[in-house]
């Protein structure tokens, strides 16, 4: 129980920023991403843009996996659906990015929900098959076949260099603009997820995750809530897919392989399931680690770049041996200490 500080009202207790340390961290941390692009190399700006985009996608996974406990293996497919939808909205309808993202999200959400239907009967790892099937259907087949051009609008599509947020207004094109827009989106979705996590909806997700039998007997509608989780998660991943198109500027099915799914699992689990901050921490760590290991190898041992995944893997394993519950848990202990500071235990 908190002994350093205490709350005077329920509202306060439900606040996002509850402890002094969190306030401090926020004040110190907030400016960093805002000034970053002006001090970082173009490469890092780009890396962080990717971090933000994947961050949103992994938040979606986080809702489905850490809250609802659904093993979803279609990050690639979801992002593809989002990407192709967005591309059509932008290129053909010319509505601009924000509508594109919205529709992409809704489209993905509905497909996700459809493939979540088996969750009504199937539990645990078995349900993975459903979304795995989607991954294969969408990426190995549907988006590759010209026969379905009427639906997906072409197996390969490229985005204009400049895209207006709404129609042609407020165009986004330069690396920095992409950076800030992605950042903004990540913040928005992080906040939405945090809100979700402190309301009854997420509680019911978790309850079904931890003990679906008693949860149902105590009034939780399992089927409805599982589908809701798929919808929310799917929406977020779809939006990430849409952002991915402006980041890469070109889409082709190969960009959305199962590897993305595995990568996102790595990010989520490394961060430590269950916490929004964990997601962001995980995504950032994985991307930066990969980036720096690769750069270091190119600089000092260019013939050995194939060792990159090896070093990465070993580091991950060592980290986990030190703190098997993930980075967030490690930070949590530090935070506990600081929160109580200067009071003794």
């Amino acid at each position: 129980m908190p002994c350093g500080e205490y709350f005077t009202s329920y509202e306060e207790r439900m606040g996002l920023i509850r402890w002094r340390i969190e306030r401090v961290a926020l004040v110190l941390g907030l400016p960093i991403p805002l000034i970053a692009p002006f001090v970082l190399t173009g490469e890092l700006v780009s890396v962080f843009t990717l971090v933000f985009i994947f961050g949103i996608a992994v938040l979606g996974l986080h809702v489905m996996l850490s809250y609802a406990g659904e093993i979803v293996l279609a990050q690639g497919a979801f992002m593809a659906i989002g990407a192709y939808t967005a591309s059509r909205i932008v290129n053909e309808a010319g509505l601009g990015l924000l509508p594109a993202m919205l529709i992409a999200g809704l489209m993905t959400a509905s497909v996700a929900t459809a493939f979540g239907l088996p969750a009504g009967r199937v539990k645990g790892f078995y349900v993975a098959i459903s979304t795995l099937a989607l991954q294969f259907i969408a990426v190995q087949f549907f988006f590759r076949r010209g026969e379905f051009e009427a639906i997906h609008g072409g197996t390969q599509q490229s985005m204009p260099g400049e895209i207006g947020l709404v129609g042609d207004a407020l165009a986004i094109g330069s690396a920095n603009e992409e950076y800030f827009f992605a950042l903004l989106m990540l913040v928005v979705f992080a906040l939405l997820t945090m809100n979700l996590s402190r309301t009854g909806i997420a509680r019911m997700f978790r309850a079904l995750h931890e003990n679906d039998l008693s949860a149902q007997v105590l009034g939780v509608n399992r089927f409805r809530n599982k589908l809701l989780a798929y919808a929310i998660g799917g929406f977020m991943v779809g939006v990430a897919g849409a952002l991915y198109t402006i980041y890469i500027g070109f889409i082709t099915p190969e960009f959305f392989s199962i590897d993305i799914t595995l990568l996102h699992y790595m990010m989520l689990l490394l961060g430590g399931m269950g916490r929004v901050w964990g997601v962001i921490l995980g995504v950032t760590t994985v991307e930066l680690l990969n980036h720096y290991i690769l750069q270091t190898l190119i600089d000092i041992f260019p013939e050995g770049t194939s060792l990159e995944p090896m070093f990465f893997g070993v580091i991950i394993i060592v980290v986990l041996i030190v703190e098997p519950k993930g980075l967030m848990a490690a930070l949590g202990q530090l935070k506990e200490y600081l929160r109580k500071w200067p009071y003794a235990y």
Partner: protein, 383 residues
């Protein structure tokens, strides 16, 4: 490394190679060829400028390519980037067009010849024309044979199918249904059986190395009497040697010379390779690197250097991609120090380097040069 610091007399030449990713089996020799040749040019050419090759091994993972591209373009844009394959080339095509950066890569899809991508250049027949070259060879040597395309279902795999089939029919060959063979296939038995049922004599194969192996081993297992004609990525000296008998009789087409050809025919180009192998300590006797793909990489580098040199000689701005593009269009006497069997001739409306294909036939593990095919340079073949 990071951002591109390029003073007035250094030309920043970006590099996006795959040395460790899914396509590294061919990407590694190519990438090394490029890197070595650029280093060689800095040492041995009296360029009025220094080439700064800022490269990344993107491991065929697009975001890495994107990140490096953004880093290259975060300063003032480099005039040239030497890229690698389908993934990076197509992902960046529209961006290089916007940023006016010449992008030389080994992605030969004829889509890249379109107006929308004026800054993409490659040193080979486009995939479709490679298929056509094979068809042409059949027409010349075995008219009346039945031919079928075999390919994977990615856009890369699909790209040459229609064009090749159309030309084959035009040449009066029987064209059987095309067959797909997945990138990750572990057996091709069913595909080969199907080809046999359709009495196919020649399979024109657009794929990567791995499926080619699978295809060849299924063919020899089933004892099918089918000649496989591979496009760019299916054959090289290493494969021809290491699985000699499976590859016996395989036909191949390309527009840069094979290792042995260079060694025997083009002393000037050979010099570059010898020096580079010396300097880098590569092993001449190891076909994993000493092969046609290394030559390919060197050719890419030389093309970039040549264009930059010409810009510099005319007092142009070596930082400017459009200036470099100018020169590429002007050039019509470039044969990469003999690494290419012909001279390239890019035109503004028609960026096909050449319509010339050198065909090979594998026998006892050697890629033996065979006929040279000259295709008509037809307008309607452009996208």
């Amino acid at each position: 490394i990071g951002g591109g610091g390029s003073g007035d007399n250094t030309a920043l030449v970006g590099g996006i190679h795959d040395l460790s990713g899914a396509t590294s089996d061919v990407g590694q020799p190519t990438g090394r060829g490029t890197r070595d040749a650029l280093a060689w040019a800095n040492e041995n050419e009296d360029l009025g400028f220094e080439i700064n090759h800022d490269w990344v091994d993107y491991a065929y993972d697009v975001p890495n390519a994107q990140n490096h591209y953004n880093s290259l373009t975060s300063g003032d844009n480099p005039p040239v980037i030497i890229g690698w394959g389908t993934a990076d080339t197509e992902a960046l095509a529209s961006e290089v067009a916007r940023d006016e950066i010449v992008y030389i890569s080994a992605s030969y899809s004829d889509k890249l010849l379109a107006e929308e991508t004026p800054y993409n250049f490659f040193v080979n027949l486009d995939y479709t024309s490679q298929g056509r070259a094979h068809a042409e060879w059949i027409a010349n040597n075995d008219s009346g044979a039945t031919v079928a395309m075999i390919h994977n279902t990615t856009p890369f795999g699909e790209s040459p199918v229609d064009g090749t089939e159309a030309y084959a029919e035009e040449l009066g060959l029987d064209v059987a249904d095309n067959i797909t063979l997945g990138l990750g296939a572990n057996t091709a038995d069913t595909q080969v059986k199907r080809a046999m049922d359709n009495d196919v004599d020649y399979l024109i194969h657009q794929n990567t190395a791995a499926p080619m192996q699978v295809l060849m081993s299924s063919i020899s297992d089933l004892g099918a009497d089918i000649t496989v004609m591979g496009l760019t990525w299916t054959v090289d000296e290493f494969r021809a040697q290491s699985v000699a008998d499976a590859f016996e009789g395989v036909r191949y087409v390309n527009t840069n010379k094979s290792w042995n050809q260079v060694e025997s025919e083009s002393p000037e180009g050979w010099q570059i390779i010898e020096d580079s192998f010396e300097r880098e300590g590569h092993d001449m006797s190891n076909p994993e690197i000493a092969n046609i793909n290394y030559v390919r990489g060197v050719a890419h580098a030389l093309l970039a250097v040549e264009a930059l040199k010409r810009v510099d000689d005319d007092g142009g701005d070596i930082q400017s991609g459009s200036a470099v593009r100018e020169k590429l269009i002007e050039m019509d006497d470039f044969d990469a120090r003999g690494l290419l069997p012909v001279t390239l001739d890019y035109q503004d409306g028609d960026r096909r380097a050449t319509m010339f294909g050198q065909t090979y036939e594998v026998s006892d593990g050697e890629m033996v040069p065979d006929q040279e095919i000259e295709l008509p340079r037809r307008e309607e073949w452009l996208p």
